[in-house]
């Protein structure tokens, strides 16, 4: 019997209404995630990857328009829940998030220990002492010294604040954590340390991760699977080994070629042109304008093609 996936997303759509028109930030996204695995969502800025995170957690801004599709968490469609049920049972209880620039999202006038304990107070209804004991445990997991509980965010370094933000996502022991660019503002060594922490959490606590990033090189530190997002859609989904070895979609190939490397002489390349505006999307394949391998068929919308367990949205493989 096939095991139920931890998370299965089907035809997820999230549009925003703006004065310029409808922004199709997430436009028919499908993917699956097993428990104790990490999927990386790769894409350039403005491809809708942060909106995807918000759509999964139902953190919708006021101007959101169409919001449809199915999100199955442990086999249950959480899109059917009303907002109150969602808040009580899903958000932070079953999945939580480390927002972008999390290190700056801490409240400057509240001690970090209290901030981290807040989700536990609300979701578990425990006493303050119990919550703080839980926080200490979480701090151990992410490598923050226990006595930092009484400190204010400004007393911590960037890396420590990032760890605190991860501890906050962890405190209710959710099965899934969404990380939105967790290390983009950090130094190299701090970055590597944070990834060590995430790897350890995955191994010791069995947490699953959705890692949203534009940094291909560091994303490989955590990835089991890779999904490449372009103009609101996922254009390639593959296991990490085969993806980093040989990506299929021309966009993924171009992205890989743009990564500077330490020990090769080959110069990185850049992708000519810019991603299309999400308000005014082209007909057919959305990457066609910038694609070196384009041919007549690309004027039509490419289907998702399965190739040896990998999925790619490109006519080349039809």
């Amino acid at each position: 019997m096939a095991q139920t996936k931890l998370l299965r997303i089907e035809e997820l759509v999230l549009h925003f209404n703006t004065t310029q028109g409808v922004v199709q930030a997430v436009d028919g996204v499908n993917f699956e995630l097993d428990s104790n695995r990490a999927v990386v969502i790769l894409g350039e800025s403005g491809c809708g990857k942060s909106s995807l995170a918000k759509a999964i957690l139902r953190l919708l801004p006021r101007n959101s328009g169409t919001y449809t599709g199915h999100i199955y968490l442990d086999g249950k469609d959480i899109m059917l829940l009303n907002d109150e049920e969602f808040r009580q049972n899903i958000r932070w209880a079953a999945m939580s998030m480390v927002p972008q620039a999390a290190m700056n999202s801490l409240n400057p006038v509240i001690k970090v220990g209290e901030q981290v304990s807040e989700p536990a107070l609300i979701h578990f209804g425990v006493s303050k002492e119990e919550a703080l004991a839980l926080v200490k445990k979480m701090f151990q997991h992410v490598g923050v010294p226990e006595d930092f509980i009484g400190r204010y965010p400004f007393e911590l370094s960037g890396g420590m604040r990032q760890r605190v933000a991860i501890a906050m996502a962890l405190v209710t022991s959710p099965s899934l954590i969404i990380l939105d660019e967790p290390t983009s503002a950090l130094d190299v060594l701090t970055q590597a340390n944070i990834f060590n922490v995430l790897k350890r959490l995955k191994k010791e606590l069995g947490v699953s991760f959705i890692l949203i990033t534009h940094d291909i090189a560091t994303s490989s530190e955590l990835a089991d699977d890779v999904a490449v997002m372009y103009a609101g859609q996922i254009v390639e989904m593959s296991d990490a080994h085969r993806f980093f070895d040989k990506p299929l979609h021309p966009y993924s190939q171009k992205l890989m070629a743009s990564v500077p490397r330490l020990h090769t002489v080959k110069e990185p390349e850049f992708i000519v042109g810019r991603p299309p505006s999400l308000v005014n999307l082209p007909q057919g394949c959305r990457f066609a304008d910038r694609c070196p391998a384009r041919f007549d068929k690309c004027a039509q919308n490419p289907p998702v093609i399965e190739k040896e367990g990998r999925k790619v949205k490109c006519w080349l493989y039809a």
């Binding site: 130094d187 190299v188 060594l189 291909i216 743009s258 500077p260 330490l262 990185p268």
Partner: protein
């Protein structure tokens, strides 16, 4: 006009063996005051830095945030006064310049800021932004100013020029904003350019585009460039030499390939280990990263400043005396007792 620029470039090429900028035992300390009175100590942002930059040479300064690399750059640009030591540009000591001399100096150095949006005035359009240095620099003729603006924009590939001239910064993408910043730095035809993390705010593919543009400008105009970054993976495409900075000191100086393929200082080795390359195998193992964080620059540790984190510490040596510069191989200096 065009001939004059070429002559300028040719002159720079002819002098490529000469030293353009020389920094000698530079110290920049900031005083910490307590309640406005009494001294509470100093932040030793730059503490004894020595190096030379030749004509037409590109150098990368690599270090983590808070290691003093921006203070070093700002001192070179003449924005901070050195506490000790000197900066010599084109045989002229900066501290001896009067305000007129400083003015002239500023027209010979360009500065590319880290955050392009923050570096551009939101109420000025591209034309005004690019014209301003020319007006300050005393270019009186309106026609000539327009010509030079257009030429600078073509050089950074902001074309068609007429479309971009009336635009305001918020109407441009991040990459285009950074091109405007570069055009502004280049418009006075400087001999020397300081680029402070010019691509850290940009997307991966745009990053490469901007780095290639800077490299192209550097080569055609024989510019000397100091490129500040924390990302080792981009430097090999951009510079001839790398300086690694840690807690106010340059701990290792070497040619790019020498440093990347054969690092000497334990800190450089750690930086290289910390830098990822896209490889699925990364996910299978933990990285060996030295514990802890860079020291406070108010009370740096005695001896080598890296010793509390160093995996190769020699007890009784590293924690007592500050290492001088050793040269284990030609053109490769390292401040570490391992190479005594």
């Amino acid at each position: 006009m065009v001939a004059a620029i070429n002559a300028n470039d040719v002159e720079k090429k002819d002098r490529s063996k000469e030293v353009l900028l020389s920094v000698d035992e530079l110290r920049v300390w900031f005083e910490l005051r307590r309640f406005g009175f009494g001294r509470a100590g100093y932040v030793r942002a730059v503490d004894g830095v020595t190096f030379d930059v030749h004509y037409g040479e590109a150098i990368a300064v690599v270090g983590e945030s808070g290691c003093g690399k921006s203070s070093l750059m700002k001192t070179i640009l003449g924005l901070y006064k050195p506490t000790n030591g000197k900066v010599v540009f084109d045989n002229q000591d900066l501290s001896e310049l009067d305000s007129k001399g400083m003015h002239l100096y500023h027209s010979q150095v360009g500065y590319v800021q880290q955050d392009p949006y923050g570096a551009l005035a939101p109420f000025m359009n591209v034309q005004t932004i690019l014209e301003e240095p020319l007006i300050v620099g005393g270019v009186k003729s309106k026609v000539e100013r327009k010509q030079r603006v257009c030429k600078a924009m073509e050089e950074v590939k902001l074309s068609p020029v007429d479309d971009f001239l009336p635009k305001y910064p918020h109407m441009l993408s991040g990459g285009q904003q950074q091109r405007v910043v570069i055009a502004r730095a280049m418009i006075m035809e400087p001999k020397f350019l300081v680029a402070d993390e010019p691509v850290s705010m940009l997307d991966a593919s745009v990053r490469v585009e901007i780095l290639k543009l800077l490299r192209g400008l550097q080569e055609t105009h024989h510019l000397s460039v100091i490129y500040i970054t924390h990302d080792l993976s981009t430097v090999s495409y951009f510079s001839e030499r790398i300086f690694v900075m840690y807690a106010g000191n340059l701990v290792e100086k070497a040619k790019v390939r020498q440093l990347l393929d054969n690092p000497k200082h334990p800190y450089t080795m750690a930086l290289l280990t910390g830098t990822s390359e896209p490889d699925a195998k990364n996910a299978e193992s933990f990285k060996e990263i030295p514990p802890g964080e860079p020291p406070s620059l108010v009370n740096p540790p005695q001896g080598c400043r890296f010793h509390p984190r160093c995996p190769k510490i020699i007890k009784g040596v590293c924690d007592v005396d500050e290492p001088p510069e050793f040269e284990p191989e030609p053109d490769h200096q390292v401040k570490c007792w391992l190479y005594k």
